[in-house]
């Protein structure tokens, strides 16, 4: 597009400088807090973080919930996206609009809505009691299940949108061709759809996983503080303990987890393609 590399680099320079000054430098300053002890560089804060059993439990719980939400979002996301791309273009636009709509509502409001839905007198418990599945209302609110549901609803739209755009770019005949050649639906998905939409899955997966790791208000409210997560721990370190060093350790762990998830998803996608 541009005559030489220098020209294109020069054009990218202002944006890169802006990002470096207002984003990368402050983040590096913040992260360096966790690597300093009394003016010297040190890993002491990291050692102390990982040698506390409570922190390890919280780390594993956060990772587990992030993975579960991402996998669930991928499964539901593929089903929804496959339905949406088969709609007429007008209806597709409407559906995508409906899916994007919740993203325009504050996560706080969406989380509060779950208190109404999942409560003892909420519609979920009313439905369960009326069809006779349970005698007394279940305690869904303020548990790990509630956090899972809240996070899934919060980030599912990002997965669906990524997968819809990936599926739209897939040659429409590919599925029919595979079917004609005798593949069953599972084989079609595994050998045709998945390899052709892996980019969408990588983007959607990274967004959902990162979002689940870093969401604060949903675990804080729907978990009822009985379920400590890394993000709630980070909030405590800053607001109560005024301890920016260990907050920076947690921030670094969250960043590393997000990048690792992205790399892992990419690796999985390419491994499938090579086979």
């Amino acid at each position: 597009m541009f005559q030489n590399r220098a020209e294109s680099l020069a054009l990218a320079l202002p944006a890169a400088l802006f990002a470096a000054v207002v984003f990368i430098v402050p983040v590096l300053i913040l992260l360096s807090e966790g690597l300093r002890l009394g003016g010297d560089w040190s890993l002491a804060h990291y050692v102390s973080f990982f040698s506390t059993p409570l922190n390890l439990t919280v780390f594993i719980r956060t990772l587990k919930l992030g993975v579960l939400v991402t996998v669930a979002a991928a499964v539901i996301g593929y089903a929804a996206a496959l339905c949406i791309v088969n709609l007429s273009s007008r209806n597709r636009g409407r559906m995508v609009g409906l899916i994007v709509l919740p993203l325009m509502i504050s996560p706080v409001a969406r989380t509060y809505a779950w208190i109404v839905i999942l409560g003892r007198t909420g519609i979920v418990n009313q439905a369960l009691t009326s069809i006779g599945l349970t005698d007394a209302p279940l305690r869904i609110l303020f548990s790990e299940t509630a956090i899972f549901i809240g996070l899934l609803q919060l980030f599912l739209p990002l997965m669906i949108i990524s997968l819809v755009s990936a599926l739209e770019n897939m040659p429409r005949d590919a599925i029919s061709a595979a079917r004609v050649l005798g593949a069953n639906w599972l084989q079609v998905f595994w050998k045709v759809i998945l390899p052709l939409t892996k980019e969408g899955l990588v983007i959607g997966g990274t967004l959902v996983f990162t979002g689940s790791l870093t969401a604060y208000i949903t675990p804080a409210i729907l978990g009822g503080s009985k379920v400590l997560m890394l993000e709630t721990l980070l909030y405590q370190r800053v607001t109560i303990a005024n301890d920016f060093a260990s907050a920076s350790v947690i921030a670094m762990i969250l960043i590393v987890m997000s990048f690792s998830a992205n790399l892992l998803l990419k690796r999985l996608a390419t491994a499938r393609a090579k086979r």
């Binding site: 509060y112 109404v116 003892r120 804080a220 303990a241």
Partner: protein
């Protein structure tokens, strides 16, 4: 023509510079809530009175204290309002200086607990609130902080998380009720941990409580008086408990930043804020309970605030020193025993 231009240019510069000299600025650091009301009741009238400009910086206490610390050498803020433990933290970090109370004409009108909350005249209280238990009076009766652990209430209480402003005062009163009120709050935290599964939630935002009460998820919760209005409006029989161990609460104070550039304006502003007129207006809008004892309020307004000599005298506030020195240990005990 050239001469005329020069002369008028010079005149214009003179006017501009004198306007600049007149336009003095008072920079204040406050909580972000109810700023529209503060502007009409407090900031605008003060600007008109002093002929200066009030620059308002808002945020939570952590952000605002961090900013004071960052600008320690060359302070931009003149005065700030914070909670008592934060004022003590600022004192220890040498970010604020003693207030010369002789410069505050309204000082003598304050309730005694507001006059020198953290000692050394490092702060002056401008508002406070009571903390007690709201409860469904048709379901239960609450006479003691210990009732939060009763069998009848199991599965019906929202307890404040230790990270909220209501958490430590509630634990403090439970300690008193248990007869084990050491500043480390060890006994009350252990008691909460024992009954952990009996609590519906350890809430982080008091705004969610009205919804939980309305949905009958909870029958009782310890709250600050500032949140009472939402419960009082509900179409349910709800009462404010007066436990036999007393009520606790919290206080917000004004502090003077060390090396402030506009100290005279800061004093004028603090005095104005503490005046009977301004404290009455802020109370009437249900923004802050008055620290000025000359404020007279109609019963309907007083009902929603922490008001009246008897009530104020009965408040058993947790010492700021105990909060500041033990906050971190409470948090780690809580995380290890309750937050798991």
């Amino acid at each position: 023509m050239k001469k005329i231009l020069l002369v008028s240019g010079a005149a214009l510069m003179l006017v501009a510079s004198s306007a600049q000299a007149q336009e003095r600025k008072l920079v204040i650091s406050v909580y972000g809530f109810a700023q529209d009301a503060f502007k009409t009741i407090l900031y605008d009238p003060f600007e008109a009175k002093c002929g200066c400009k009030v620059v308002v910086e808002t945020g939570n206490s952590v952000e605002r204290l961090a900013k004071l610390e960052a600008n320690k050498e060359n302070p931009v803020i003149d005065m700030a309002v914070v909670a008592t433990p934060d004022a003590l933290a600022a004192t220890r970090a040498k970010l604020i200086e003693p207030i010369d109370v002789t410069k505050l004409s309204n000082y003598e009108k304050l309730y005694d607990i507001a006059k020198d909350p953290i000692g050394g005249h490092m702060s002056v209280g401008y508002t406070f609130y009571a903390t007690s238990i709201v409860y469904r009076s048709d379901k239960i009766t609450i006479n003691s902080w210990n009732d939060l652990f009763s069998k009848e209430l199991a599965g019906h209480v929202a307890f404040p998380n230790v990270t909220t402003n209501q958490g430590p005062p509630t634990l403090y009163m439970i300690g008193k009720a248990m007869g084990k009120d050491t500043p480390d709050l060890k006994a009350p935290i252990e008691k909460v941990a024992e009954h952990k599964d009996d609590f519906v939630t350890f809430y982080v935002r008091s705004s969610q409580l009205t919804q939980l009460m309305q949905q009958e998820e909870i029958w009782a919760a310890p709250i600050g008086r500032f949140a009472w209005e939402g419960f009082a409006k509900m179409d349910l029989p709800i009462k404010w408990a007066t436990p036999k161990e007393g009520q606790t609460g919290g206080m917000n104070v004004m502090v003077l930043v060390k090396g402030a550039k506009n100290k005279d304006l800061a004093y004028q502003f603090m005095d104005f804020w503490l005046s009977t007129e301004i404290q009455t207006k802020l109370a009437e809008r249900l923004i802050d309970s008055p620290a000025n004892k000359e404020v007279k309020l109609p019963a309907a307004v007083a009902e929603n605030l922490t008001y009246g000599e008897d009530l104020v005298k009965s408040l058993d506030l947790q010492p700021a020193e105990a909060i500041l020195d033990n906050r971190e240990s409470w948090l780690s005990q809580w995380n290890a025993k309750v937050g798991q």
